[in-house]
């Protein structure tokens, strides 16, 4: 009876109950073989219920600014196992709960059990497990438990990703993902082992209790950056990301891109919070990595023809922006400027939330298109705006948000990061000033390229005429798919139009991250004029509406008729003769050819009357195909002798064990 009041006073209980509900959501479906649809609906319902509980718990934690830690009665082999909640964990729980609930509902429409009776129960089960592990990860308060949740998350994501395992492309992407995620986990093993030196347990140290100078801290920072950066998909470590995001079912892509990669950011933020003093070069490294990641991410995105791969590269770009914000905050701590810390970290945390919202919105929108058209190729779509007006409008909302344009949420977080750059440059303190000065135009360029990329996507997919019969037959998805998108779009607009409410949610998380900020006395509202964002955003919306109305009236007054477009004198224009995604982006891809390495196959024109031919172009995943694969192939050749040890003879394997045992015995003797 008093569970609910206890839930209010102790939000952690509410959160944990919610995660358990999410984790168990897929179980009924596994046993309801006869009626998979009921199982799927039940799973979605449980995830939504668990998410609501988690969301309320997280919001209560933030608003009451409380911190609670529980130690489980039974100990693990590695020491006591502690879970807890504080405003920083709670802030990461917000996007987890929102996106998990939206994706679960969307999944019932996108991957209906009636059409996929074999895979849907499995997908629901692993999706629930994934959502639960994502919600539990920020609650872990010791290294071992953190790694356990991290692995559950990685494996549940692997199985959810590999839903279409009959498809070779999906299997390959899943394999790369599995290998890469384990390499990252290995680095985190090193991180937490190093953190343990000095202490006697794997429990997380308190905020700002460790010294950041010295080789030990450097090693911890670098391994954490590698391990978390691999999960987050920072630029040279992103190789798993495009394939995995493209191959997963769309709602799984949405949660991967919206949340899973954010857990890499959470790990990094949490580990950085342990340090009291940080050397300036940590911030500089992160800022530089963020700049590289965001510019190259968006450049690769511009070159893609696959709708979901393109969105995946935008995740790399946005992770870069978040990492830039963290870099600014660390620089601020190194030169002792609380205002810089506040702006950088607030921008980074808010962008985590924002990116989770608009990127899942975009992936769900892309899923709605792919679900109907049956292809991810942008150049095989077209003219969908007329056939799916809701999806088009929602996708456009997400696109405006991801480009960082007002009046949507992407603008607010990028604005905070910009302010951080500017105040860092104005202060003129420390060695990082030139880099901060460079970062502002870099971020501006990223925004510009993102606009270009989404003009390309929106123009090719939703405007013009359908290029194929499949695209022409598309129609609006049902409300199970539309509803979550509408909800996400409303949240994007709310954050974008009313950012004055944000300091109430961001500040507790920031003060948990670095308690010194609370003593500095400066609030986020002092550092950033958020009220103006609302006013200017509202003005912009009104102006756009006004101009829209004027244009509409003019158009209605003008004479109207139907005719063909100008076809350069060609007698038989076809819909294939529209601007394609590749032709639209061609100039920019050529500019970045040094990094993107675009490949095109075109027929050679030899005679006056050329014969028929085909043209194809694509931008490969440069790091994977040009660096890592050749490296591994070379290693494979060199190490073929060692491969003889793995011959498949069971007896000799047992002999290996025996010999090892004998050697160990002889050694210990």
């Amino acid at each position: 009876m008093d569970a609910f009041p206890a839930g209010l006073t102790e939000p952690a209980r509410l959160v944990i109950t919610g995660t358990l509900l999410m984790g168990a959501s897929g179980l009924p479906g596994l046993f309801l073989k006869k009626s998979p649809t009921e199982g799927q609906l039940c799973a979605a319902l449980l995830v939504v219920l668990g998410s609501l509980m988690g969301l309320f718990g997280a919001l209560a934690t933030i608003l009451t600014e409380q911190t609670a830690t529980y130690t489980l009665a039974s100990t693990l082999p590695f020491g006591p196992c502690a879970i807890g909640i504080d405003p920083l964990s709670a802030f990461f729980l917000i996007p987890v709960c929102i996106v998990a609930a939206c994706c679960a509902v969307y999944g019932t429409g996108y991957w209906p059990a009636a059409q996929h009776p074999r895979t849907a129960p499995r997908l629901s089960f692993f999706f629930g497990l994934l959502a639960a592990s994502l919600a539990l990860l920020p609650l872990a308060r010791d290294g071992v438990l953190f790694l356990v949740f991290w692995e559950v998350m990685a494996l549940a994501a692997f199985f959810a990703l590999a839903t279409e395992d009959w498809n070779r492309e999906v299997r390959d992407a899943a394999k790369i993902y599995l290998v890469v995620t384990h390499i990252g986990t290995l680095a985190l093993f090193a991180t937490f082992s190093l953190l343990r030196t000095g202490g006697d347990s794997f429990a997380f140290p308190g905020a700002a209790t460790l010294d950041g100078t010295g080789p030990l801290a450097t090693a911890i920072f670098l391994t954490a950056l590698f391990g978390c950066g691999m999960k987050a998909g920072m630029m040279p470590l992103h190789i798993w990301l495009p394939g995995a995001h493209a191959s997963a079912p769309s709602h799984v892509s949405a949660i991967m891109s919206g949340i899973i990669i954010k857990m890499g950011i959470y790990g990094l933020v949490r580990i950085l919070s342990f340090y009291d003093t940080v050397p300036a070069w940590w911030g500089i490294v992160l800022l530089a990595a963020g700049i590289v990641s965001s510019i190259l991410g968006v450049a690769f995105a511009v070159g893609q023809h696959d709708l979901k791969r393109l969105l995946a590269y935008h995740s790399i770009e946005n992770i870069g922006i978040i990492v830039m914000g963290i870099g600014v905050a660390l620089i601020g701590r190194a030169i002792d400027m609380p205002g810089l810390v506040l702006l950088g970290m607030a921008g980074a945390l808010l962008h985590v939330l924002n990116h989770a919202l608009f990127k899942s919105l975009l992936f769900l929108g892309a899923g709605a298109v792919i679900h109907d058209a049956g292809t991810r190729e942008i150049d095989r779509l077209g003219g969908l705006g007329r056939r799916m007006p809701w999806t088009a409008a929602l996708f456009l909302t997400g696109a405006v948000a991801i480009c960082g344009l007002p009046p949507l949420n992407g603008f607010v977080s990028e604005y905070l990061i910009y302010l951080g750059f500017f105040s860092g440059v104005v202060s003129g303190k420390g060695a990082a000033v030139p880099l901060l000065g460079l970062a502002a135009p870099a971020l501006a360029m990223v925004g510009g390229l993102a606009v270009l990329c989404f003009v390309k996507v929106f123009g090719t997919v939703f405007l013009g005429l359908p290029r194929t019969t499949e695209a022409a037959a598309c129609h609006e998805p049902g409300w199970a798919m539309r509803g979550p998108m509408v909800f996400l779009a409303i949240l994007c607009a709310m954050i974008g139009l009313a950012p004055v409410a944000l300091p109430r949610f961001l500040e507790p998380a920031l003060f948990t991250w670095n308690p010194q900020l609370a003593f500095a006395g400066e609030g986020l509202a002092d550092a950033a004029p958020l009220g103006w964002v609302t006013i200017l955003g509202a003005l912009l919306v009104l102006m756009a509406l006004g101009i829209g109305i004027v244009i509409r009236q003019r158009l209605q007054a003008a004479p109207r008729g139907t005719t063909g477009t100008w076809d350069c004198g060609f007698a038989r224009p076809t819909t294939r003769m529209q601007y394609t995604a590749s032709s639209f982006a061609e100039m920019l891809v050529k500019l970045f050819a040094g990094v993107l390495r675009p490949k095109s196959h075109q027929p050679e024109v030899r005679s006056l009357f050329p014969v028929g031919g085909t043209f194809a172009s694509h931008v490969p995943e440069a790091v994977l195909e040009l660096v890592i694969t050749p490296l591994l192939t070379a290693a494979d050749r060199r190490l073929s002798l060692a491969r003889r040890l793995q011959h498949g003879q069971l007896h000799l394997y047992i002999l290996y064990i025996f010999v090892t045992l004998a050697i160990l015995l002889a050694w210990a003797y």
Binding site: Q646, G648, Q649, L650, H651, L652, I654, L655, F658
Partner: protein, 212 residues
């Protein structure tokens, strides 16, 4: 320690040689079953009487002497094999290696830093010798069934050692070990069936086809 127990332990070691030297699977299974029964009797001889001990003895004899051998016999009739053909190392050489390993086990046991109460007992070298025999069976035999027999001998060696370590092992530990073993046998049984269905033989060296 009484002489009856010592004689039984010597018998255990002799059975090791029987398992090593025979090519007929039915004989090997019976030998291992006998070894299990002897191991079941041993606790009664060396510890003072208690109902707990009786339960252990009955459980051991049932599991090691009856249940597992009958499972194995069922497996060989189902897979229609009676002999271990072409082992990696012939029977006579394995016997010789087994003899050498047993001798080494005695030498090794003499050097082990044991508690004074346990020094000079026959238990330790017998346990190590049985363990090594199990390993030898595992390494040299080709058929999956022979490997299961190897595991059984290995487990018997571990059990023999465990008899020494504690006055009376907690029931849970024993039950756990036995359960492990039975699950292991079941898994092996399933694997044997699957292998013989897929490759129409239960020769584990054919499994090399599965390597990456």
């Amino acid at each position: 320690m009484n002489t009856v127990a010592d004689q039984l332990i010597v018998l255990v070691m002799l059975i090791n040689f029987a398992a090593l030297g025979t090519g007929r699977l039915a004989v090997a299974i019976r030998a291992v079953a006998l070894q299990g029964v002897i191991l079941g009797i041993l606790p009664v001889l060396i510890h003072s009487f208690s109902w707990h001990l009786v339960a252990i003895t009955v459980g051991l004899i049932l599991a090691k002497g009856i249940l597992i051998p009958s499972l194995l016999t069922g497996a060989i009739t189902k897979a229609r094999i009676t002999r271990e053909m072409e082992p990696f190392i012939g029977y006579v050489p394995t016997l010789l290696i087994g003899a050498v390993l047993t001798a080494l086990a005695f030498a090794f046991a003499a050097k082990l830093p044991l508690a004074p109460a346990h020094q000079g007992l026959l238990f330790v070298p017998a346990a190590i010798a049985t363990l090594l025999t199990g390993f030898l069976l595992l390494v040299t035999r080709r058929k999956a069934i022979s490997q299961v027999i190897g595991y059984l001998v290995l487990e018997n060696g571990i059990f023999l050692f465990g008899l020494l370590l504690t006055e009376a092992m907690p029931v849970m530990v024993e039950a756990g070990a036995l359960l492990d073993l039975i699950v292991g046998i079941f898994v092996m049984g399933i694997i044997i069936n699957q292998i013989s269905r897929e490759f129409s033989s239960i020769d584990t060296s054919r499994l090399t086809a599965l390597k990456e």
